[in-house]
Amino acid sequence: MELRDNAPSGPIETAWDRHRFDIKLVNPANKRKFEVIVVGTGLAGAAAAATFGELGYRVRSFCYQDSPRRAHSIAAQGGINAAKNYSGDGDSIYRLFYDTVKGGDYRSRERNVYRLAQVSVNIIDQAVAQGVPFAREYGGLLDNRSFGGAQVSRTFYARGQTGQQLLLGAYQALERQIGAGTVTMHPRTEMLELIVVDGQARGIVTRDMVTGKIEAHLAHAVVLATGGYGNLFYLSTNAKGCNVTAGWRAHRKGAFFANPCYTQIHPTCIPVSGEHQSKLTLMSESLRNDGRVWVPKNKDDVGKKPGQIAKEDRDYYLERKYPAFGNLVPRDIASRNAKEVCDAGRGVGPGGLGVYLDFADAIERLGQKAIEERYGNLFEMYERITDEDPYQVPMRIYPAVHYTMGGLWVDYNLMSNLPGLFVLGEANFSDHGANRLGASALMQGLADGYFVAPYTIGNYLWTERTDQKPVTADHPEVKKALAEVEERTQRFLSINGKRSPDSFHRELGKLMWEKCGMARNEAGLKEAQARIPALRAEFWENLRVPGSGADLNQSLEKAGRVADFLELAELFATDALHRRESCGGHFREESQTPEGEALRDDDSFRYVAAWEFNGVGKAPVLHKEDLEFEHVKLTQRSYK
């Protein structure tokens, strides 16, 4: 099967405008005849559901939290990019586009990225109109900062709570539609299966997490905005509930999973403190604007207090190796360098898995007050967790799994290869290629939800209206999907083994981190491929889920998620193994430059790897979407 991106040809600058003109519109009176399901209420899902509601579609929205406002987007700290050029420092749509393609190590689709950069400016307008309290200058204009390796100041922020404020804006727009009756909200409701009829996505099966009721919901189109799958690694910066279930169930029903192995490991997280650790906490990378990263030059100094190590005995390794970007190199590079110095025995803190992020110079230069203004809440958070005061001693940080660039394959319209299944936000394989730039996920989620899907879904609904037959609850495919969920639920409850879902999750996560983490090699990946099925087999024999399916049962919820992670893990390893090049967040030890940087192999791997499900434990089928670069010149990324 040939994968078609369905992007308009012709000049890239006008592609989206022309596309919007060419696609079909649904007239206002007809919109209410169409039902749309939106799973997920993060930035992507809440923005989409609210906008569909405003347009007049009948919308049903789902999330697993008790309120749509709690979706994981709430946790984003640092900011959101937009090519407003309010700072007058040379930014433009073209520059944001260029930076994003380059930052993604040339593994994304140019036309999607260009559109993302274009609509980025509308997002800020929209958010401000909703009352999002972005940071301001004294004159009342919006303030910007430079973020994560960008050489222009294009990042908008609301203290250290940008995701919270953007999500509250989208959530409030969504609640407004719920109040108006255009959107029906189903919180604490988990999607556990996709319903496909005549090759089209026509509904979902859900479980009410309070009453245990398993139910089918039917619609003309299904939108998944269910976030990323970083929790595959058990320990990550994601919220505890983040999972791959919605996407994985769709994958099993035919949707292709693209680039599963592209994972972003964030360089500035609080290191693991012990066995009890249940998640990792991100320290916004905006901290790298003022903090200096270092480790002792000599192994013998690692046990010393940082204050006892003289300046000349410190290795500010990022500044040393990358003089142009210094501490602001992209995330993948900062993370890999941290691993390298720790592997060399120069790491600090428990287990030697940490590097210093030091604010002493910034405090001396700008004063404690200024630093407090910028990072006060982050410093507090750090102190609460570690019991150390970062105004006095340098922070200790270590990389952690943070974001997944991979996800369900979508075309330019954000529709998967399964007609009627749209995928937005982190859940799709998206615009970030093999590495996402800081402050670009919020931008993409909101672009997808507010400004892209509302057009493209109308086109689909109107084009398909005559072919789509009505589907009712007694359709065999609906019954089959319901039965699948019922059976799976009963199976979890009846194994009655010895181990908890969490214990399997931890074991899987550790394996993934060790063999498929920051640096990967053939032997390690093959080992993972061999060990995952064994762990999965044990899961299905030795799992214990107490209680019943007919009430609130958090062990049961976890079991379902871990079961899907155990299948995704194998695909992940397969993808990482087949991509015998390094690119962005995917570092294959076999493929590096003499200086130890990621070395791409454009001739062999300049494509999106979209995998087709072929049964559990069976080799998936690879489909390639070749990537053409007309505008951005492929070069070896260099941040020296």
């Binding site: 609210a50 919006l142 409030q172 505890k240 009890h276």
Partner: protein
């Protein structure tokens, strides 16, 4: 650390719950309160029991999902801290802890420590928004907002909707939550056109949900993990009175849309 835990167990809404006592050992002082409960739950599961249900998600103090009353204090003893950000080093070896759900008529218990806070969403539905259709906004810098006002809006917008304010209030009032939203939107220029309707409709919904009134105890602000100030309540009261005086339309007539 070793601890004795008295945990509220309740199978479902409407059931009569009771405290159940557990002892846990080898708890790391560096673990968070919820990680301590994770350890307890693993042990319960191992022994064939049903783990304690509790809500949580981000474990970073921002999503507002977690929340329990620890020794009579909403979110436990540390000021400006959610339960998930509370660490065991704040307790002493051998401590005895009483762990309960939020208790309020408007927040029915669903199971163990999990309550239904849907009332908060319905208060927002009643008017906690600025109507701005996607794609209709003017250029962001055409709306000037002075830094002081922007900061004031942000202070109020920091509310995470956890419900600790309700749990701590002797009247189970939702004033601090509602006032925070009314203040966030009401101080901004974008929020002016709907300001009166917002105050009237949100307050009406708050009453309809069965939250109690405010009798100035101030416990809400005391336990608020985000430091939302009591001044927001004074502001809401002013907005509400003004809105009632100039009310030309019946309550709740102009929500949604």
């Amino acid at each position: 650390m070793r601890l004795t835990l008295h945990v509220w167990r309740q199978k479902k809404s409407g059931d009569k719950g009771a405290f159940e006592t557990h002892k846990v050992e080898n708890i790391s002082a560096d673990s968070s309160f919820l990680e301590m409960l994770d350890v307890l739950n693993e042990e319960i599961l191992e022994k064939g029991g049903e783990p304690v249900a509790f809500d949580h998600d981000c474990r970073e103090g921002i999503c507002g999902t977690c929340g329990m009353v620890v020794n009579g204090m909403a979110h436990g003893p540390q000021a400006l801290t959610t339960t998930c950000q509370l660490h065991m080093r704040k307790f002493k070896d051998g401590d005895e802890l009483w762990i309960e759900p939020w208790r309020a008529k408007a927040f029915p218990v669903l199971r163990d420590l999990v309550v239904d806070r849907g009332a908060f969403d319905r208060i927002i539905q009643a008017g906690g928004f600025i109507s701005a259709k996607s794609g209709s906004a003017p250029d962001a810098n055409e709306i000037l907002v002075g830094k002081t006002v922007a900061d004031q809006a942000m202070d109020a917008a920091a509310c995470i909707g956890c419900g600790a304010c309700v749990a701590a209030c002797p009247n189970a009032s939702a004033m601090l939550f509602t006032a925070a939203k009314i203040t966030h939107l009401g101080v901004l220029p974008q929020g002016q056109p709907e300001r009166d309707d917002r105050a009237r409709n949100m307050v009406a919904q708050m009453d309809a949900e069965g939250f109690g009134g405010c009798t100035n105890h101030g416990e809400c602000a005391e336990v608020c993990p985000k430091g939302i100030s009591l001044e927001t309540i004074a502001r809401m009261n002013r907005d509400f009175l003004k809105a009632m005086v100039i009310a030309r339309e019946p309550l709740a007539a102009r929500t949604g849309g």
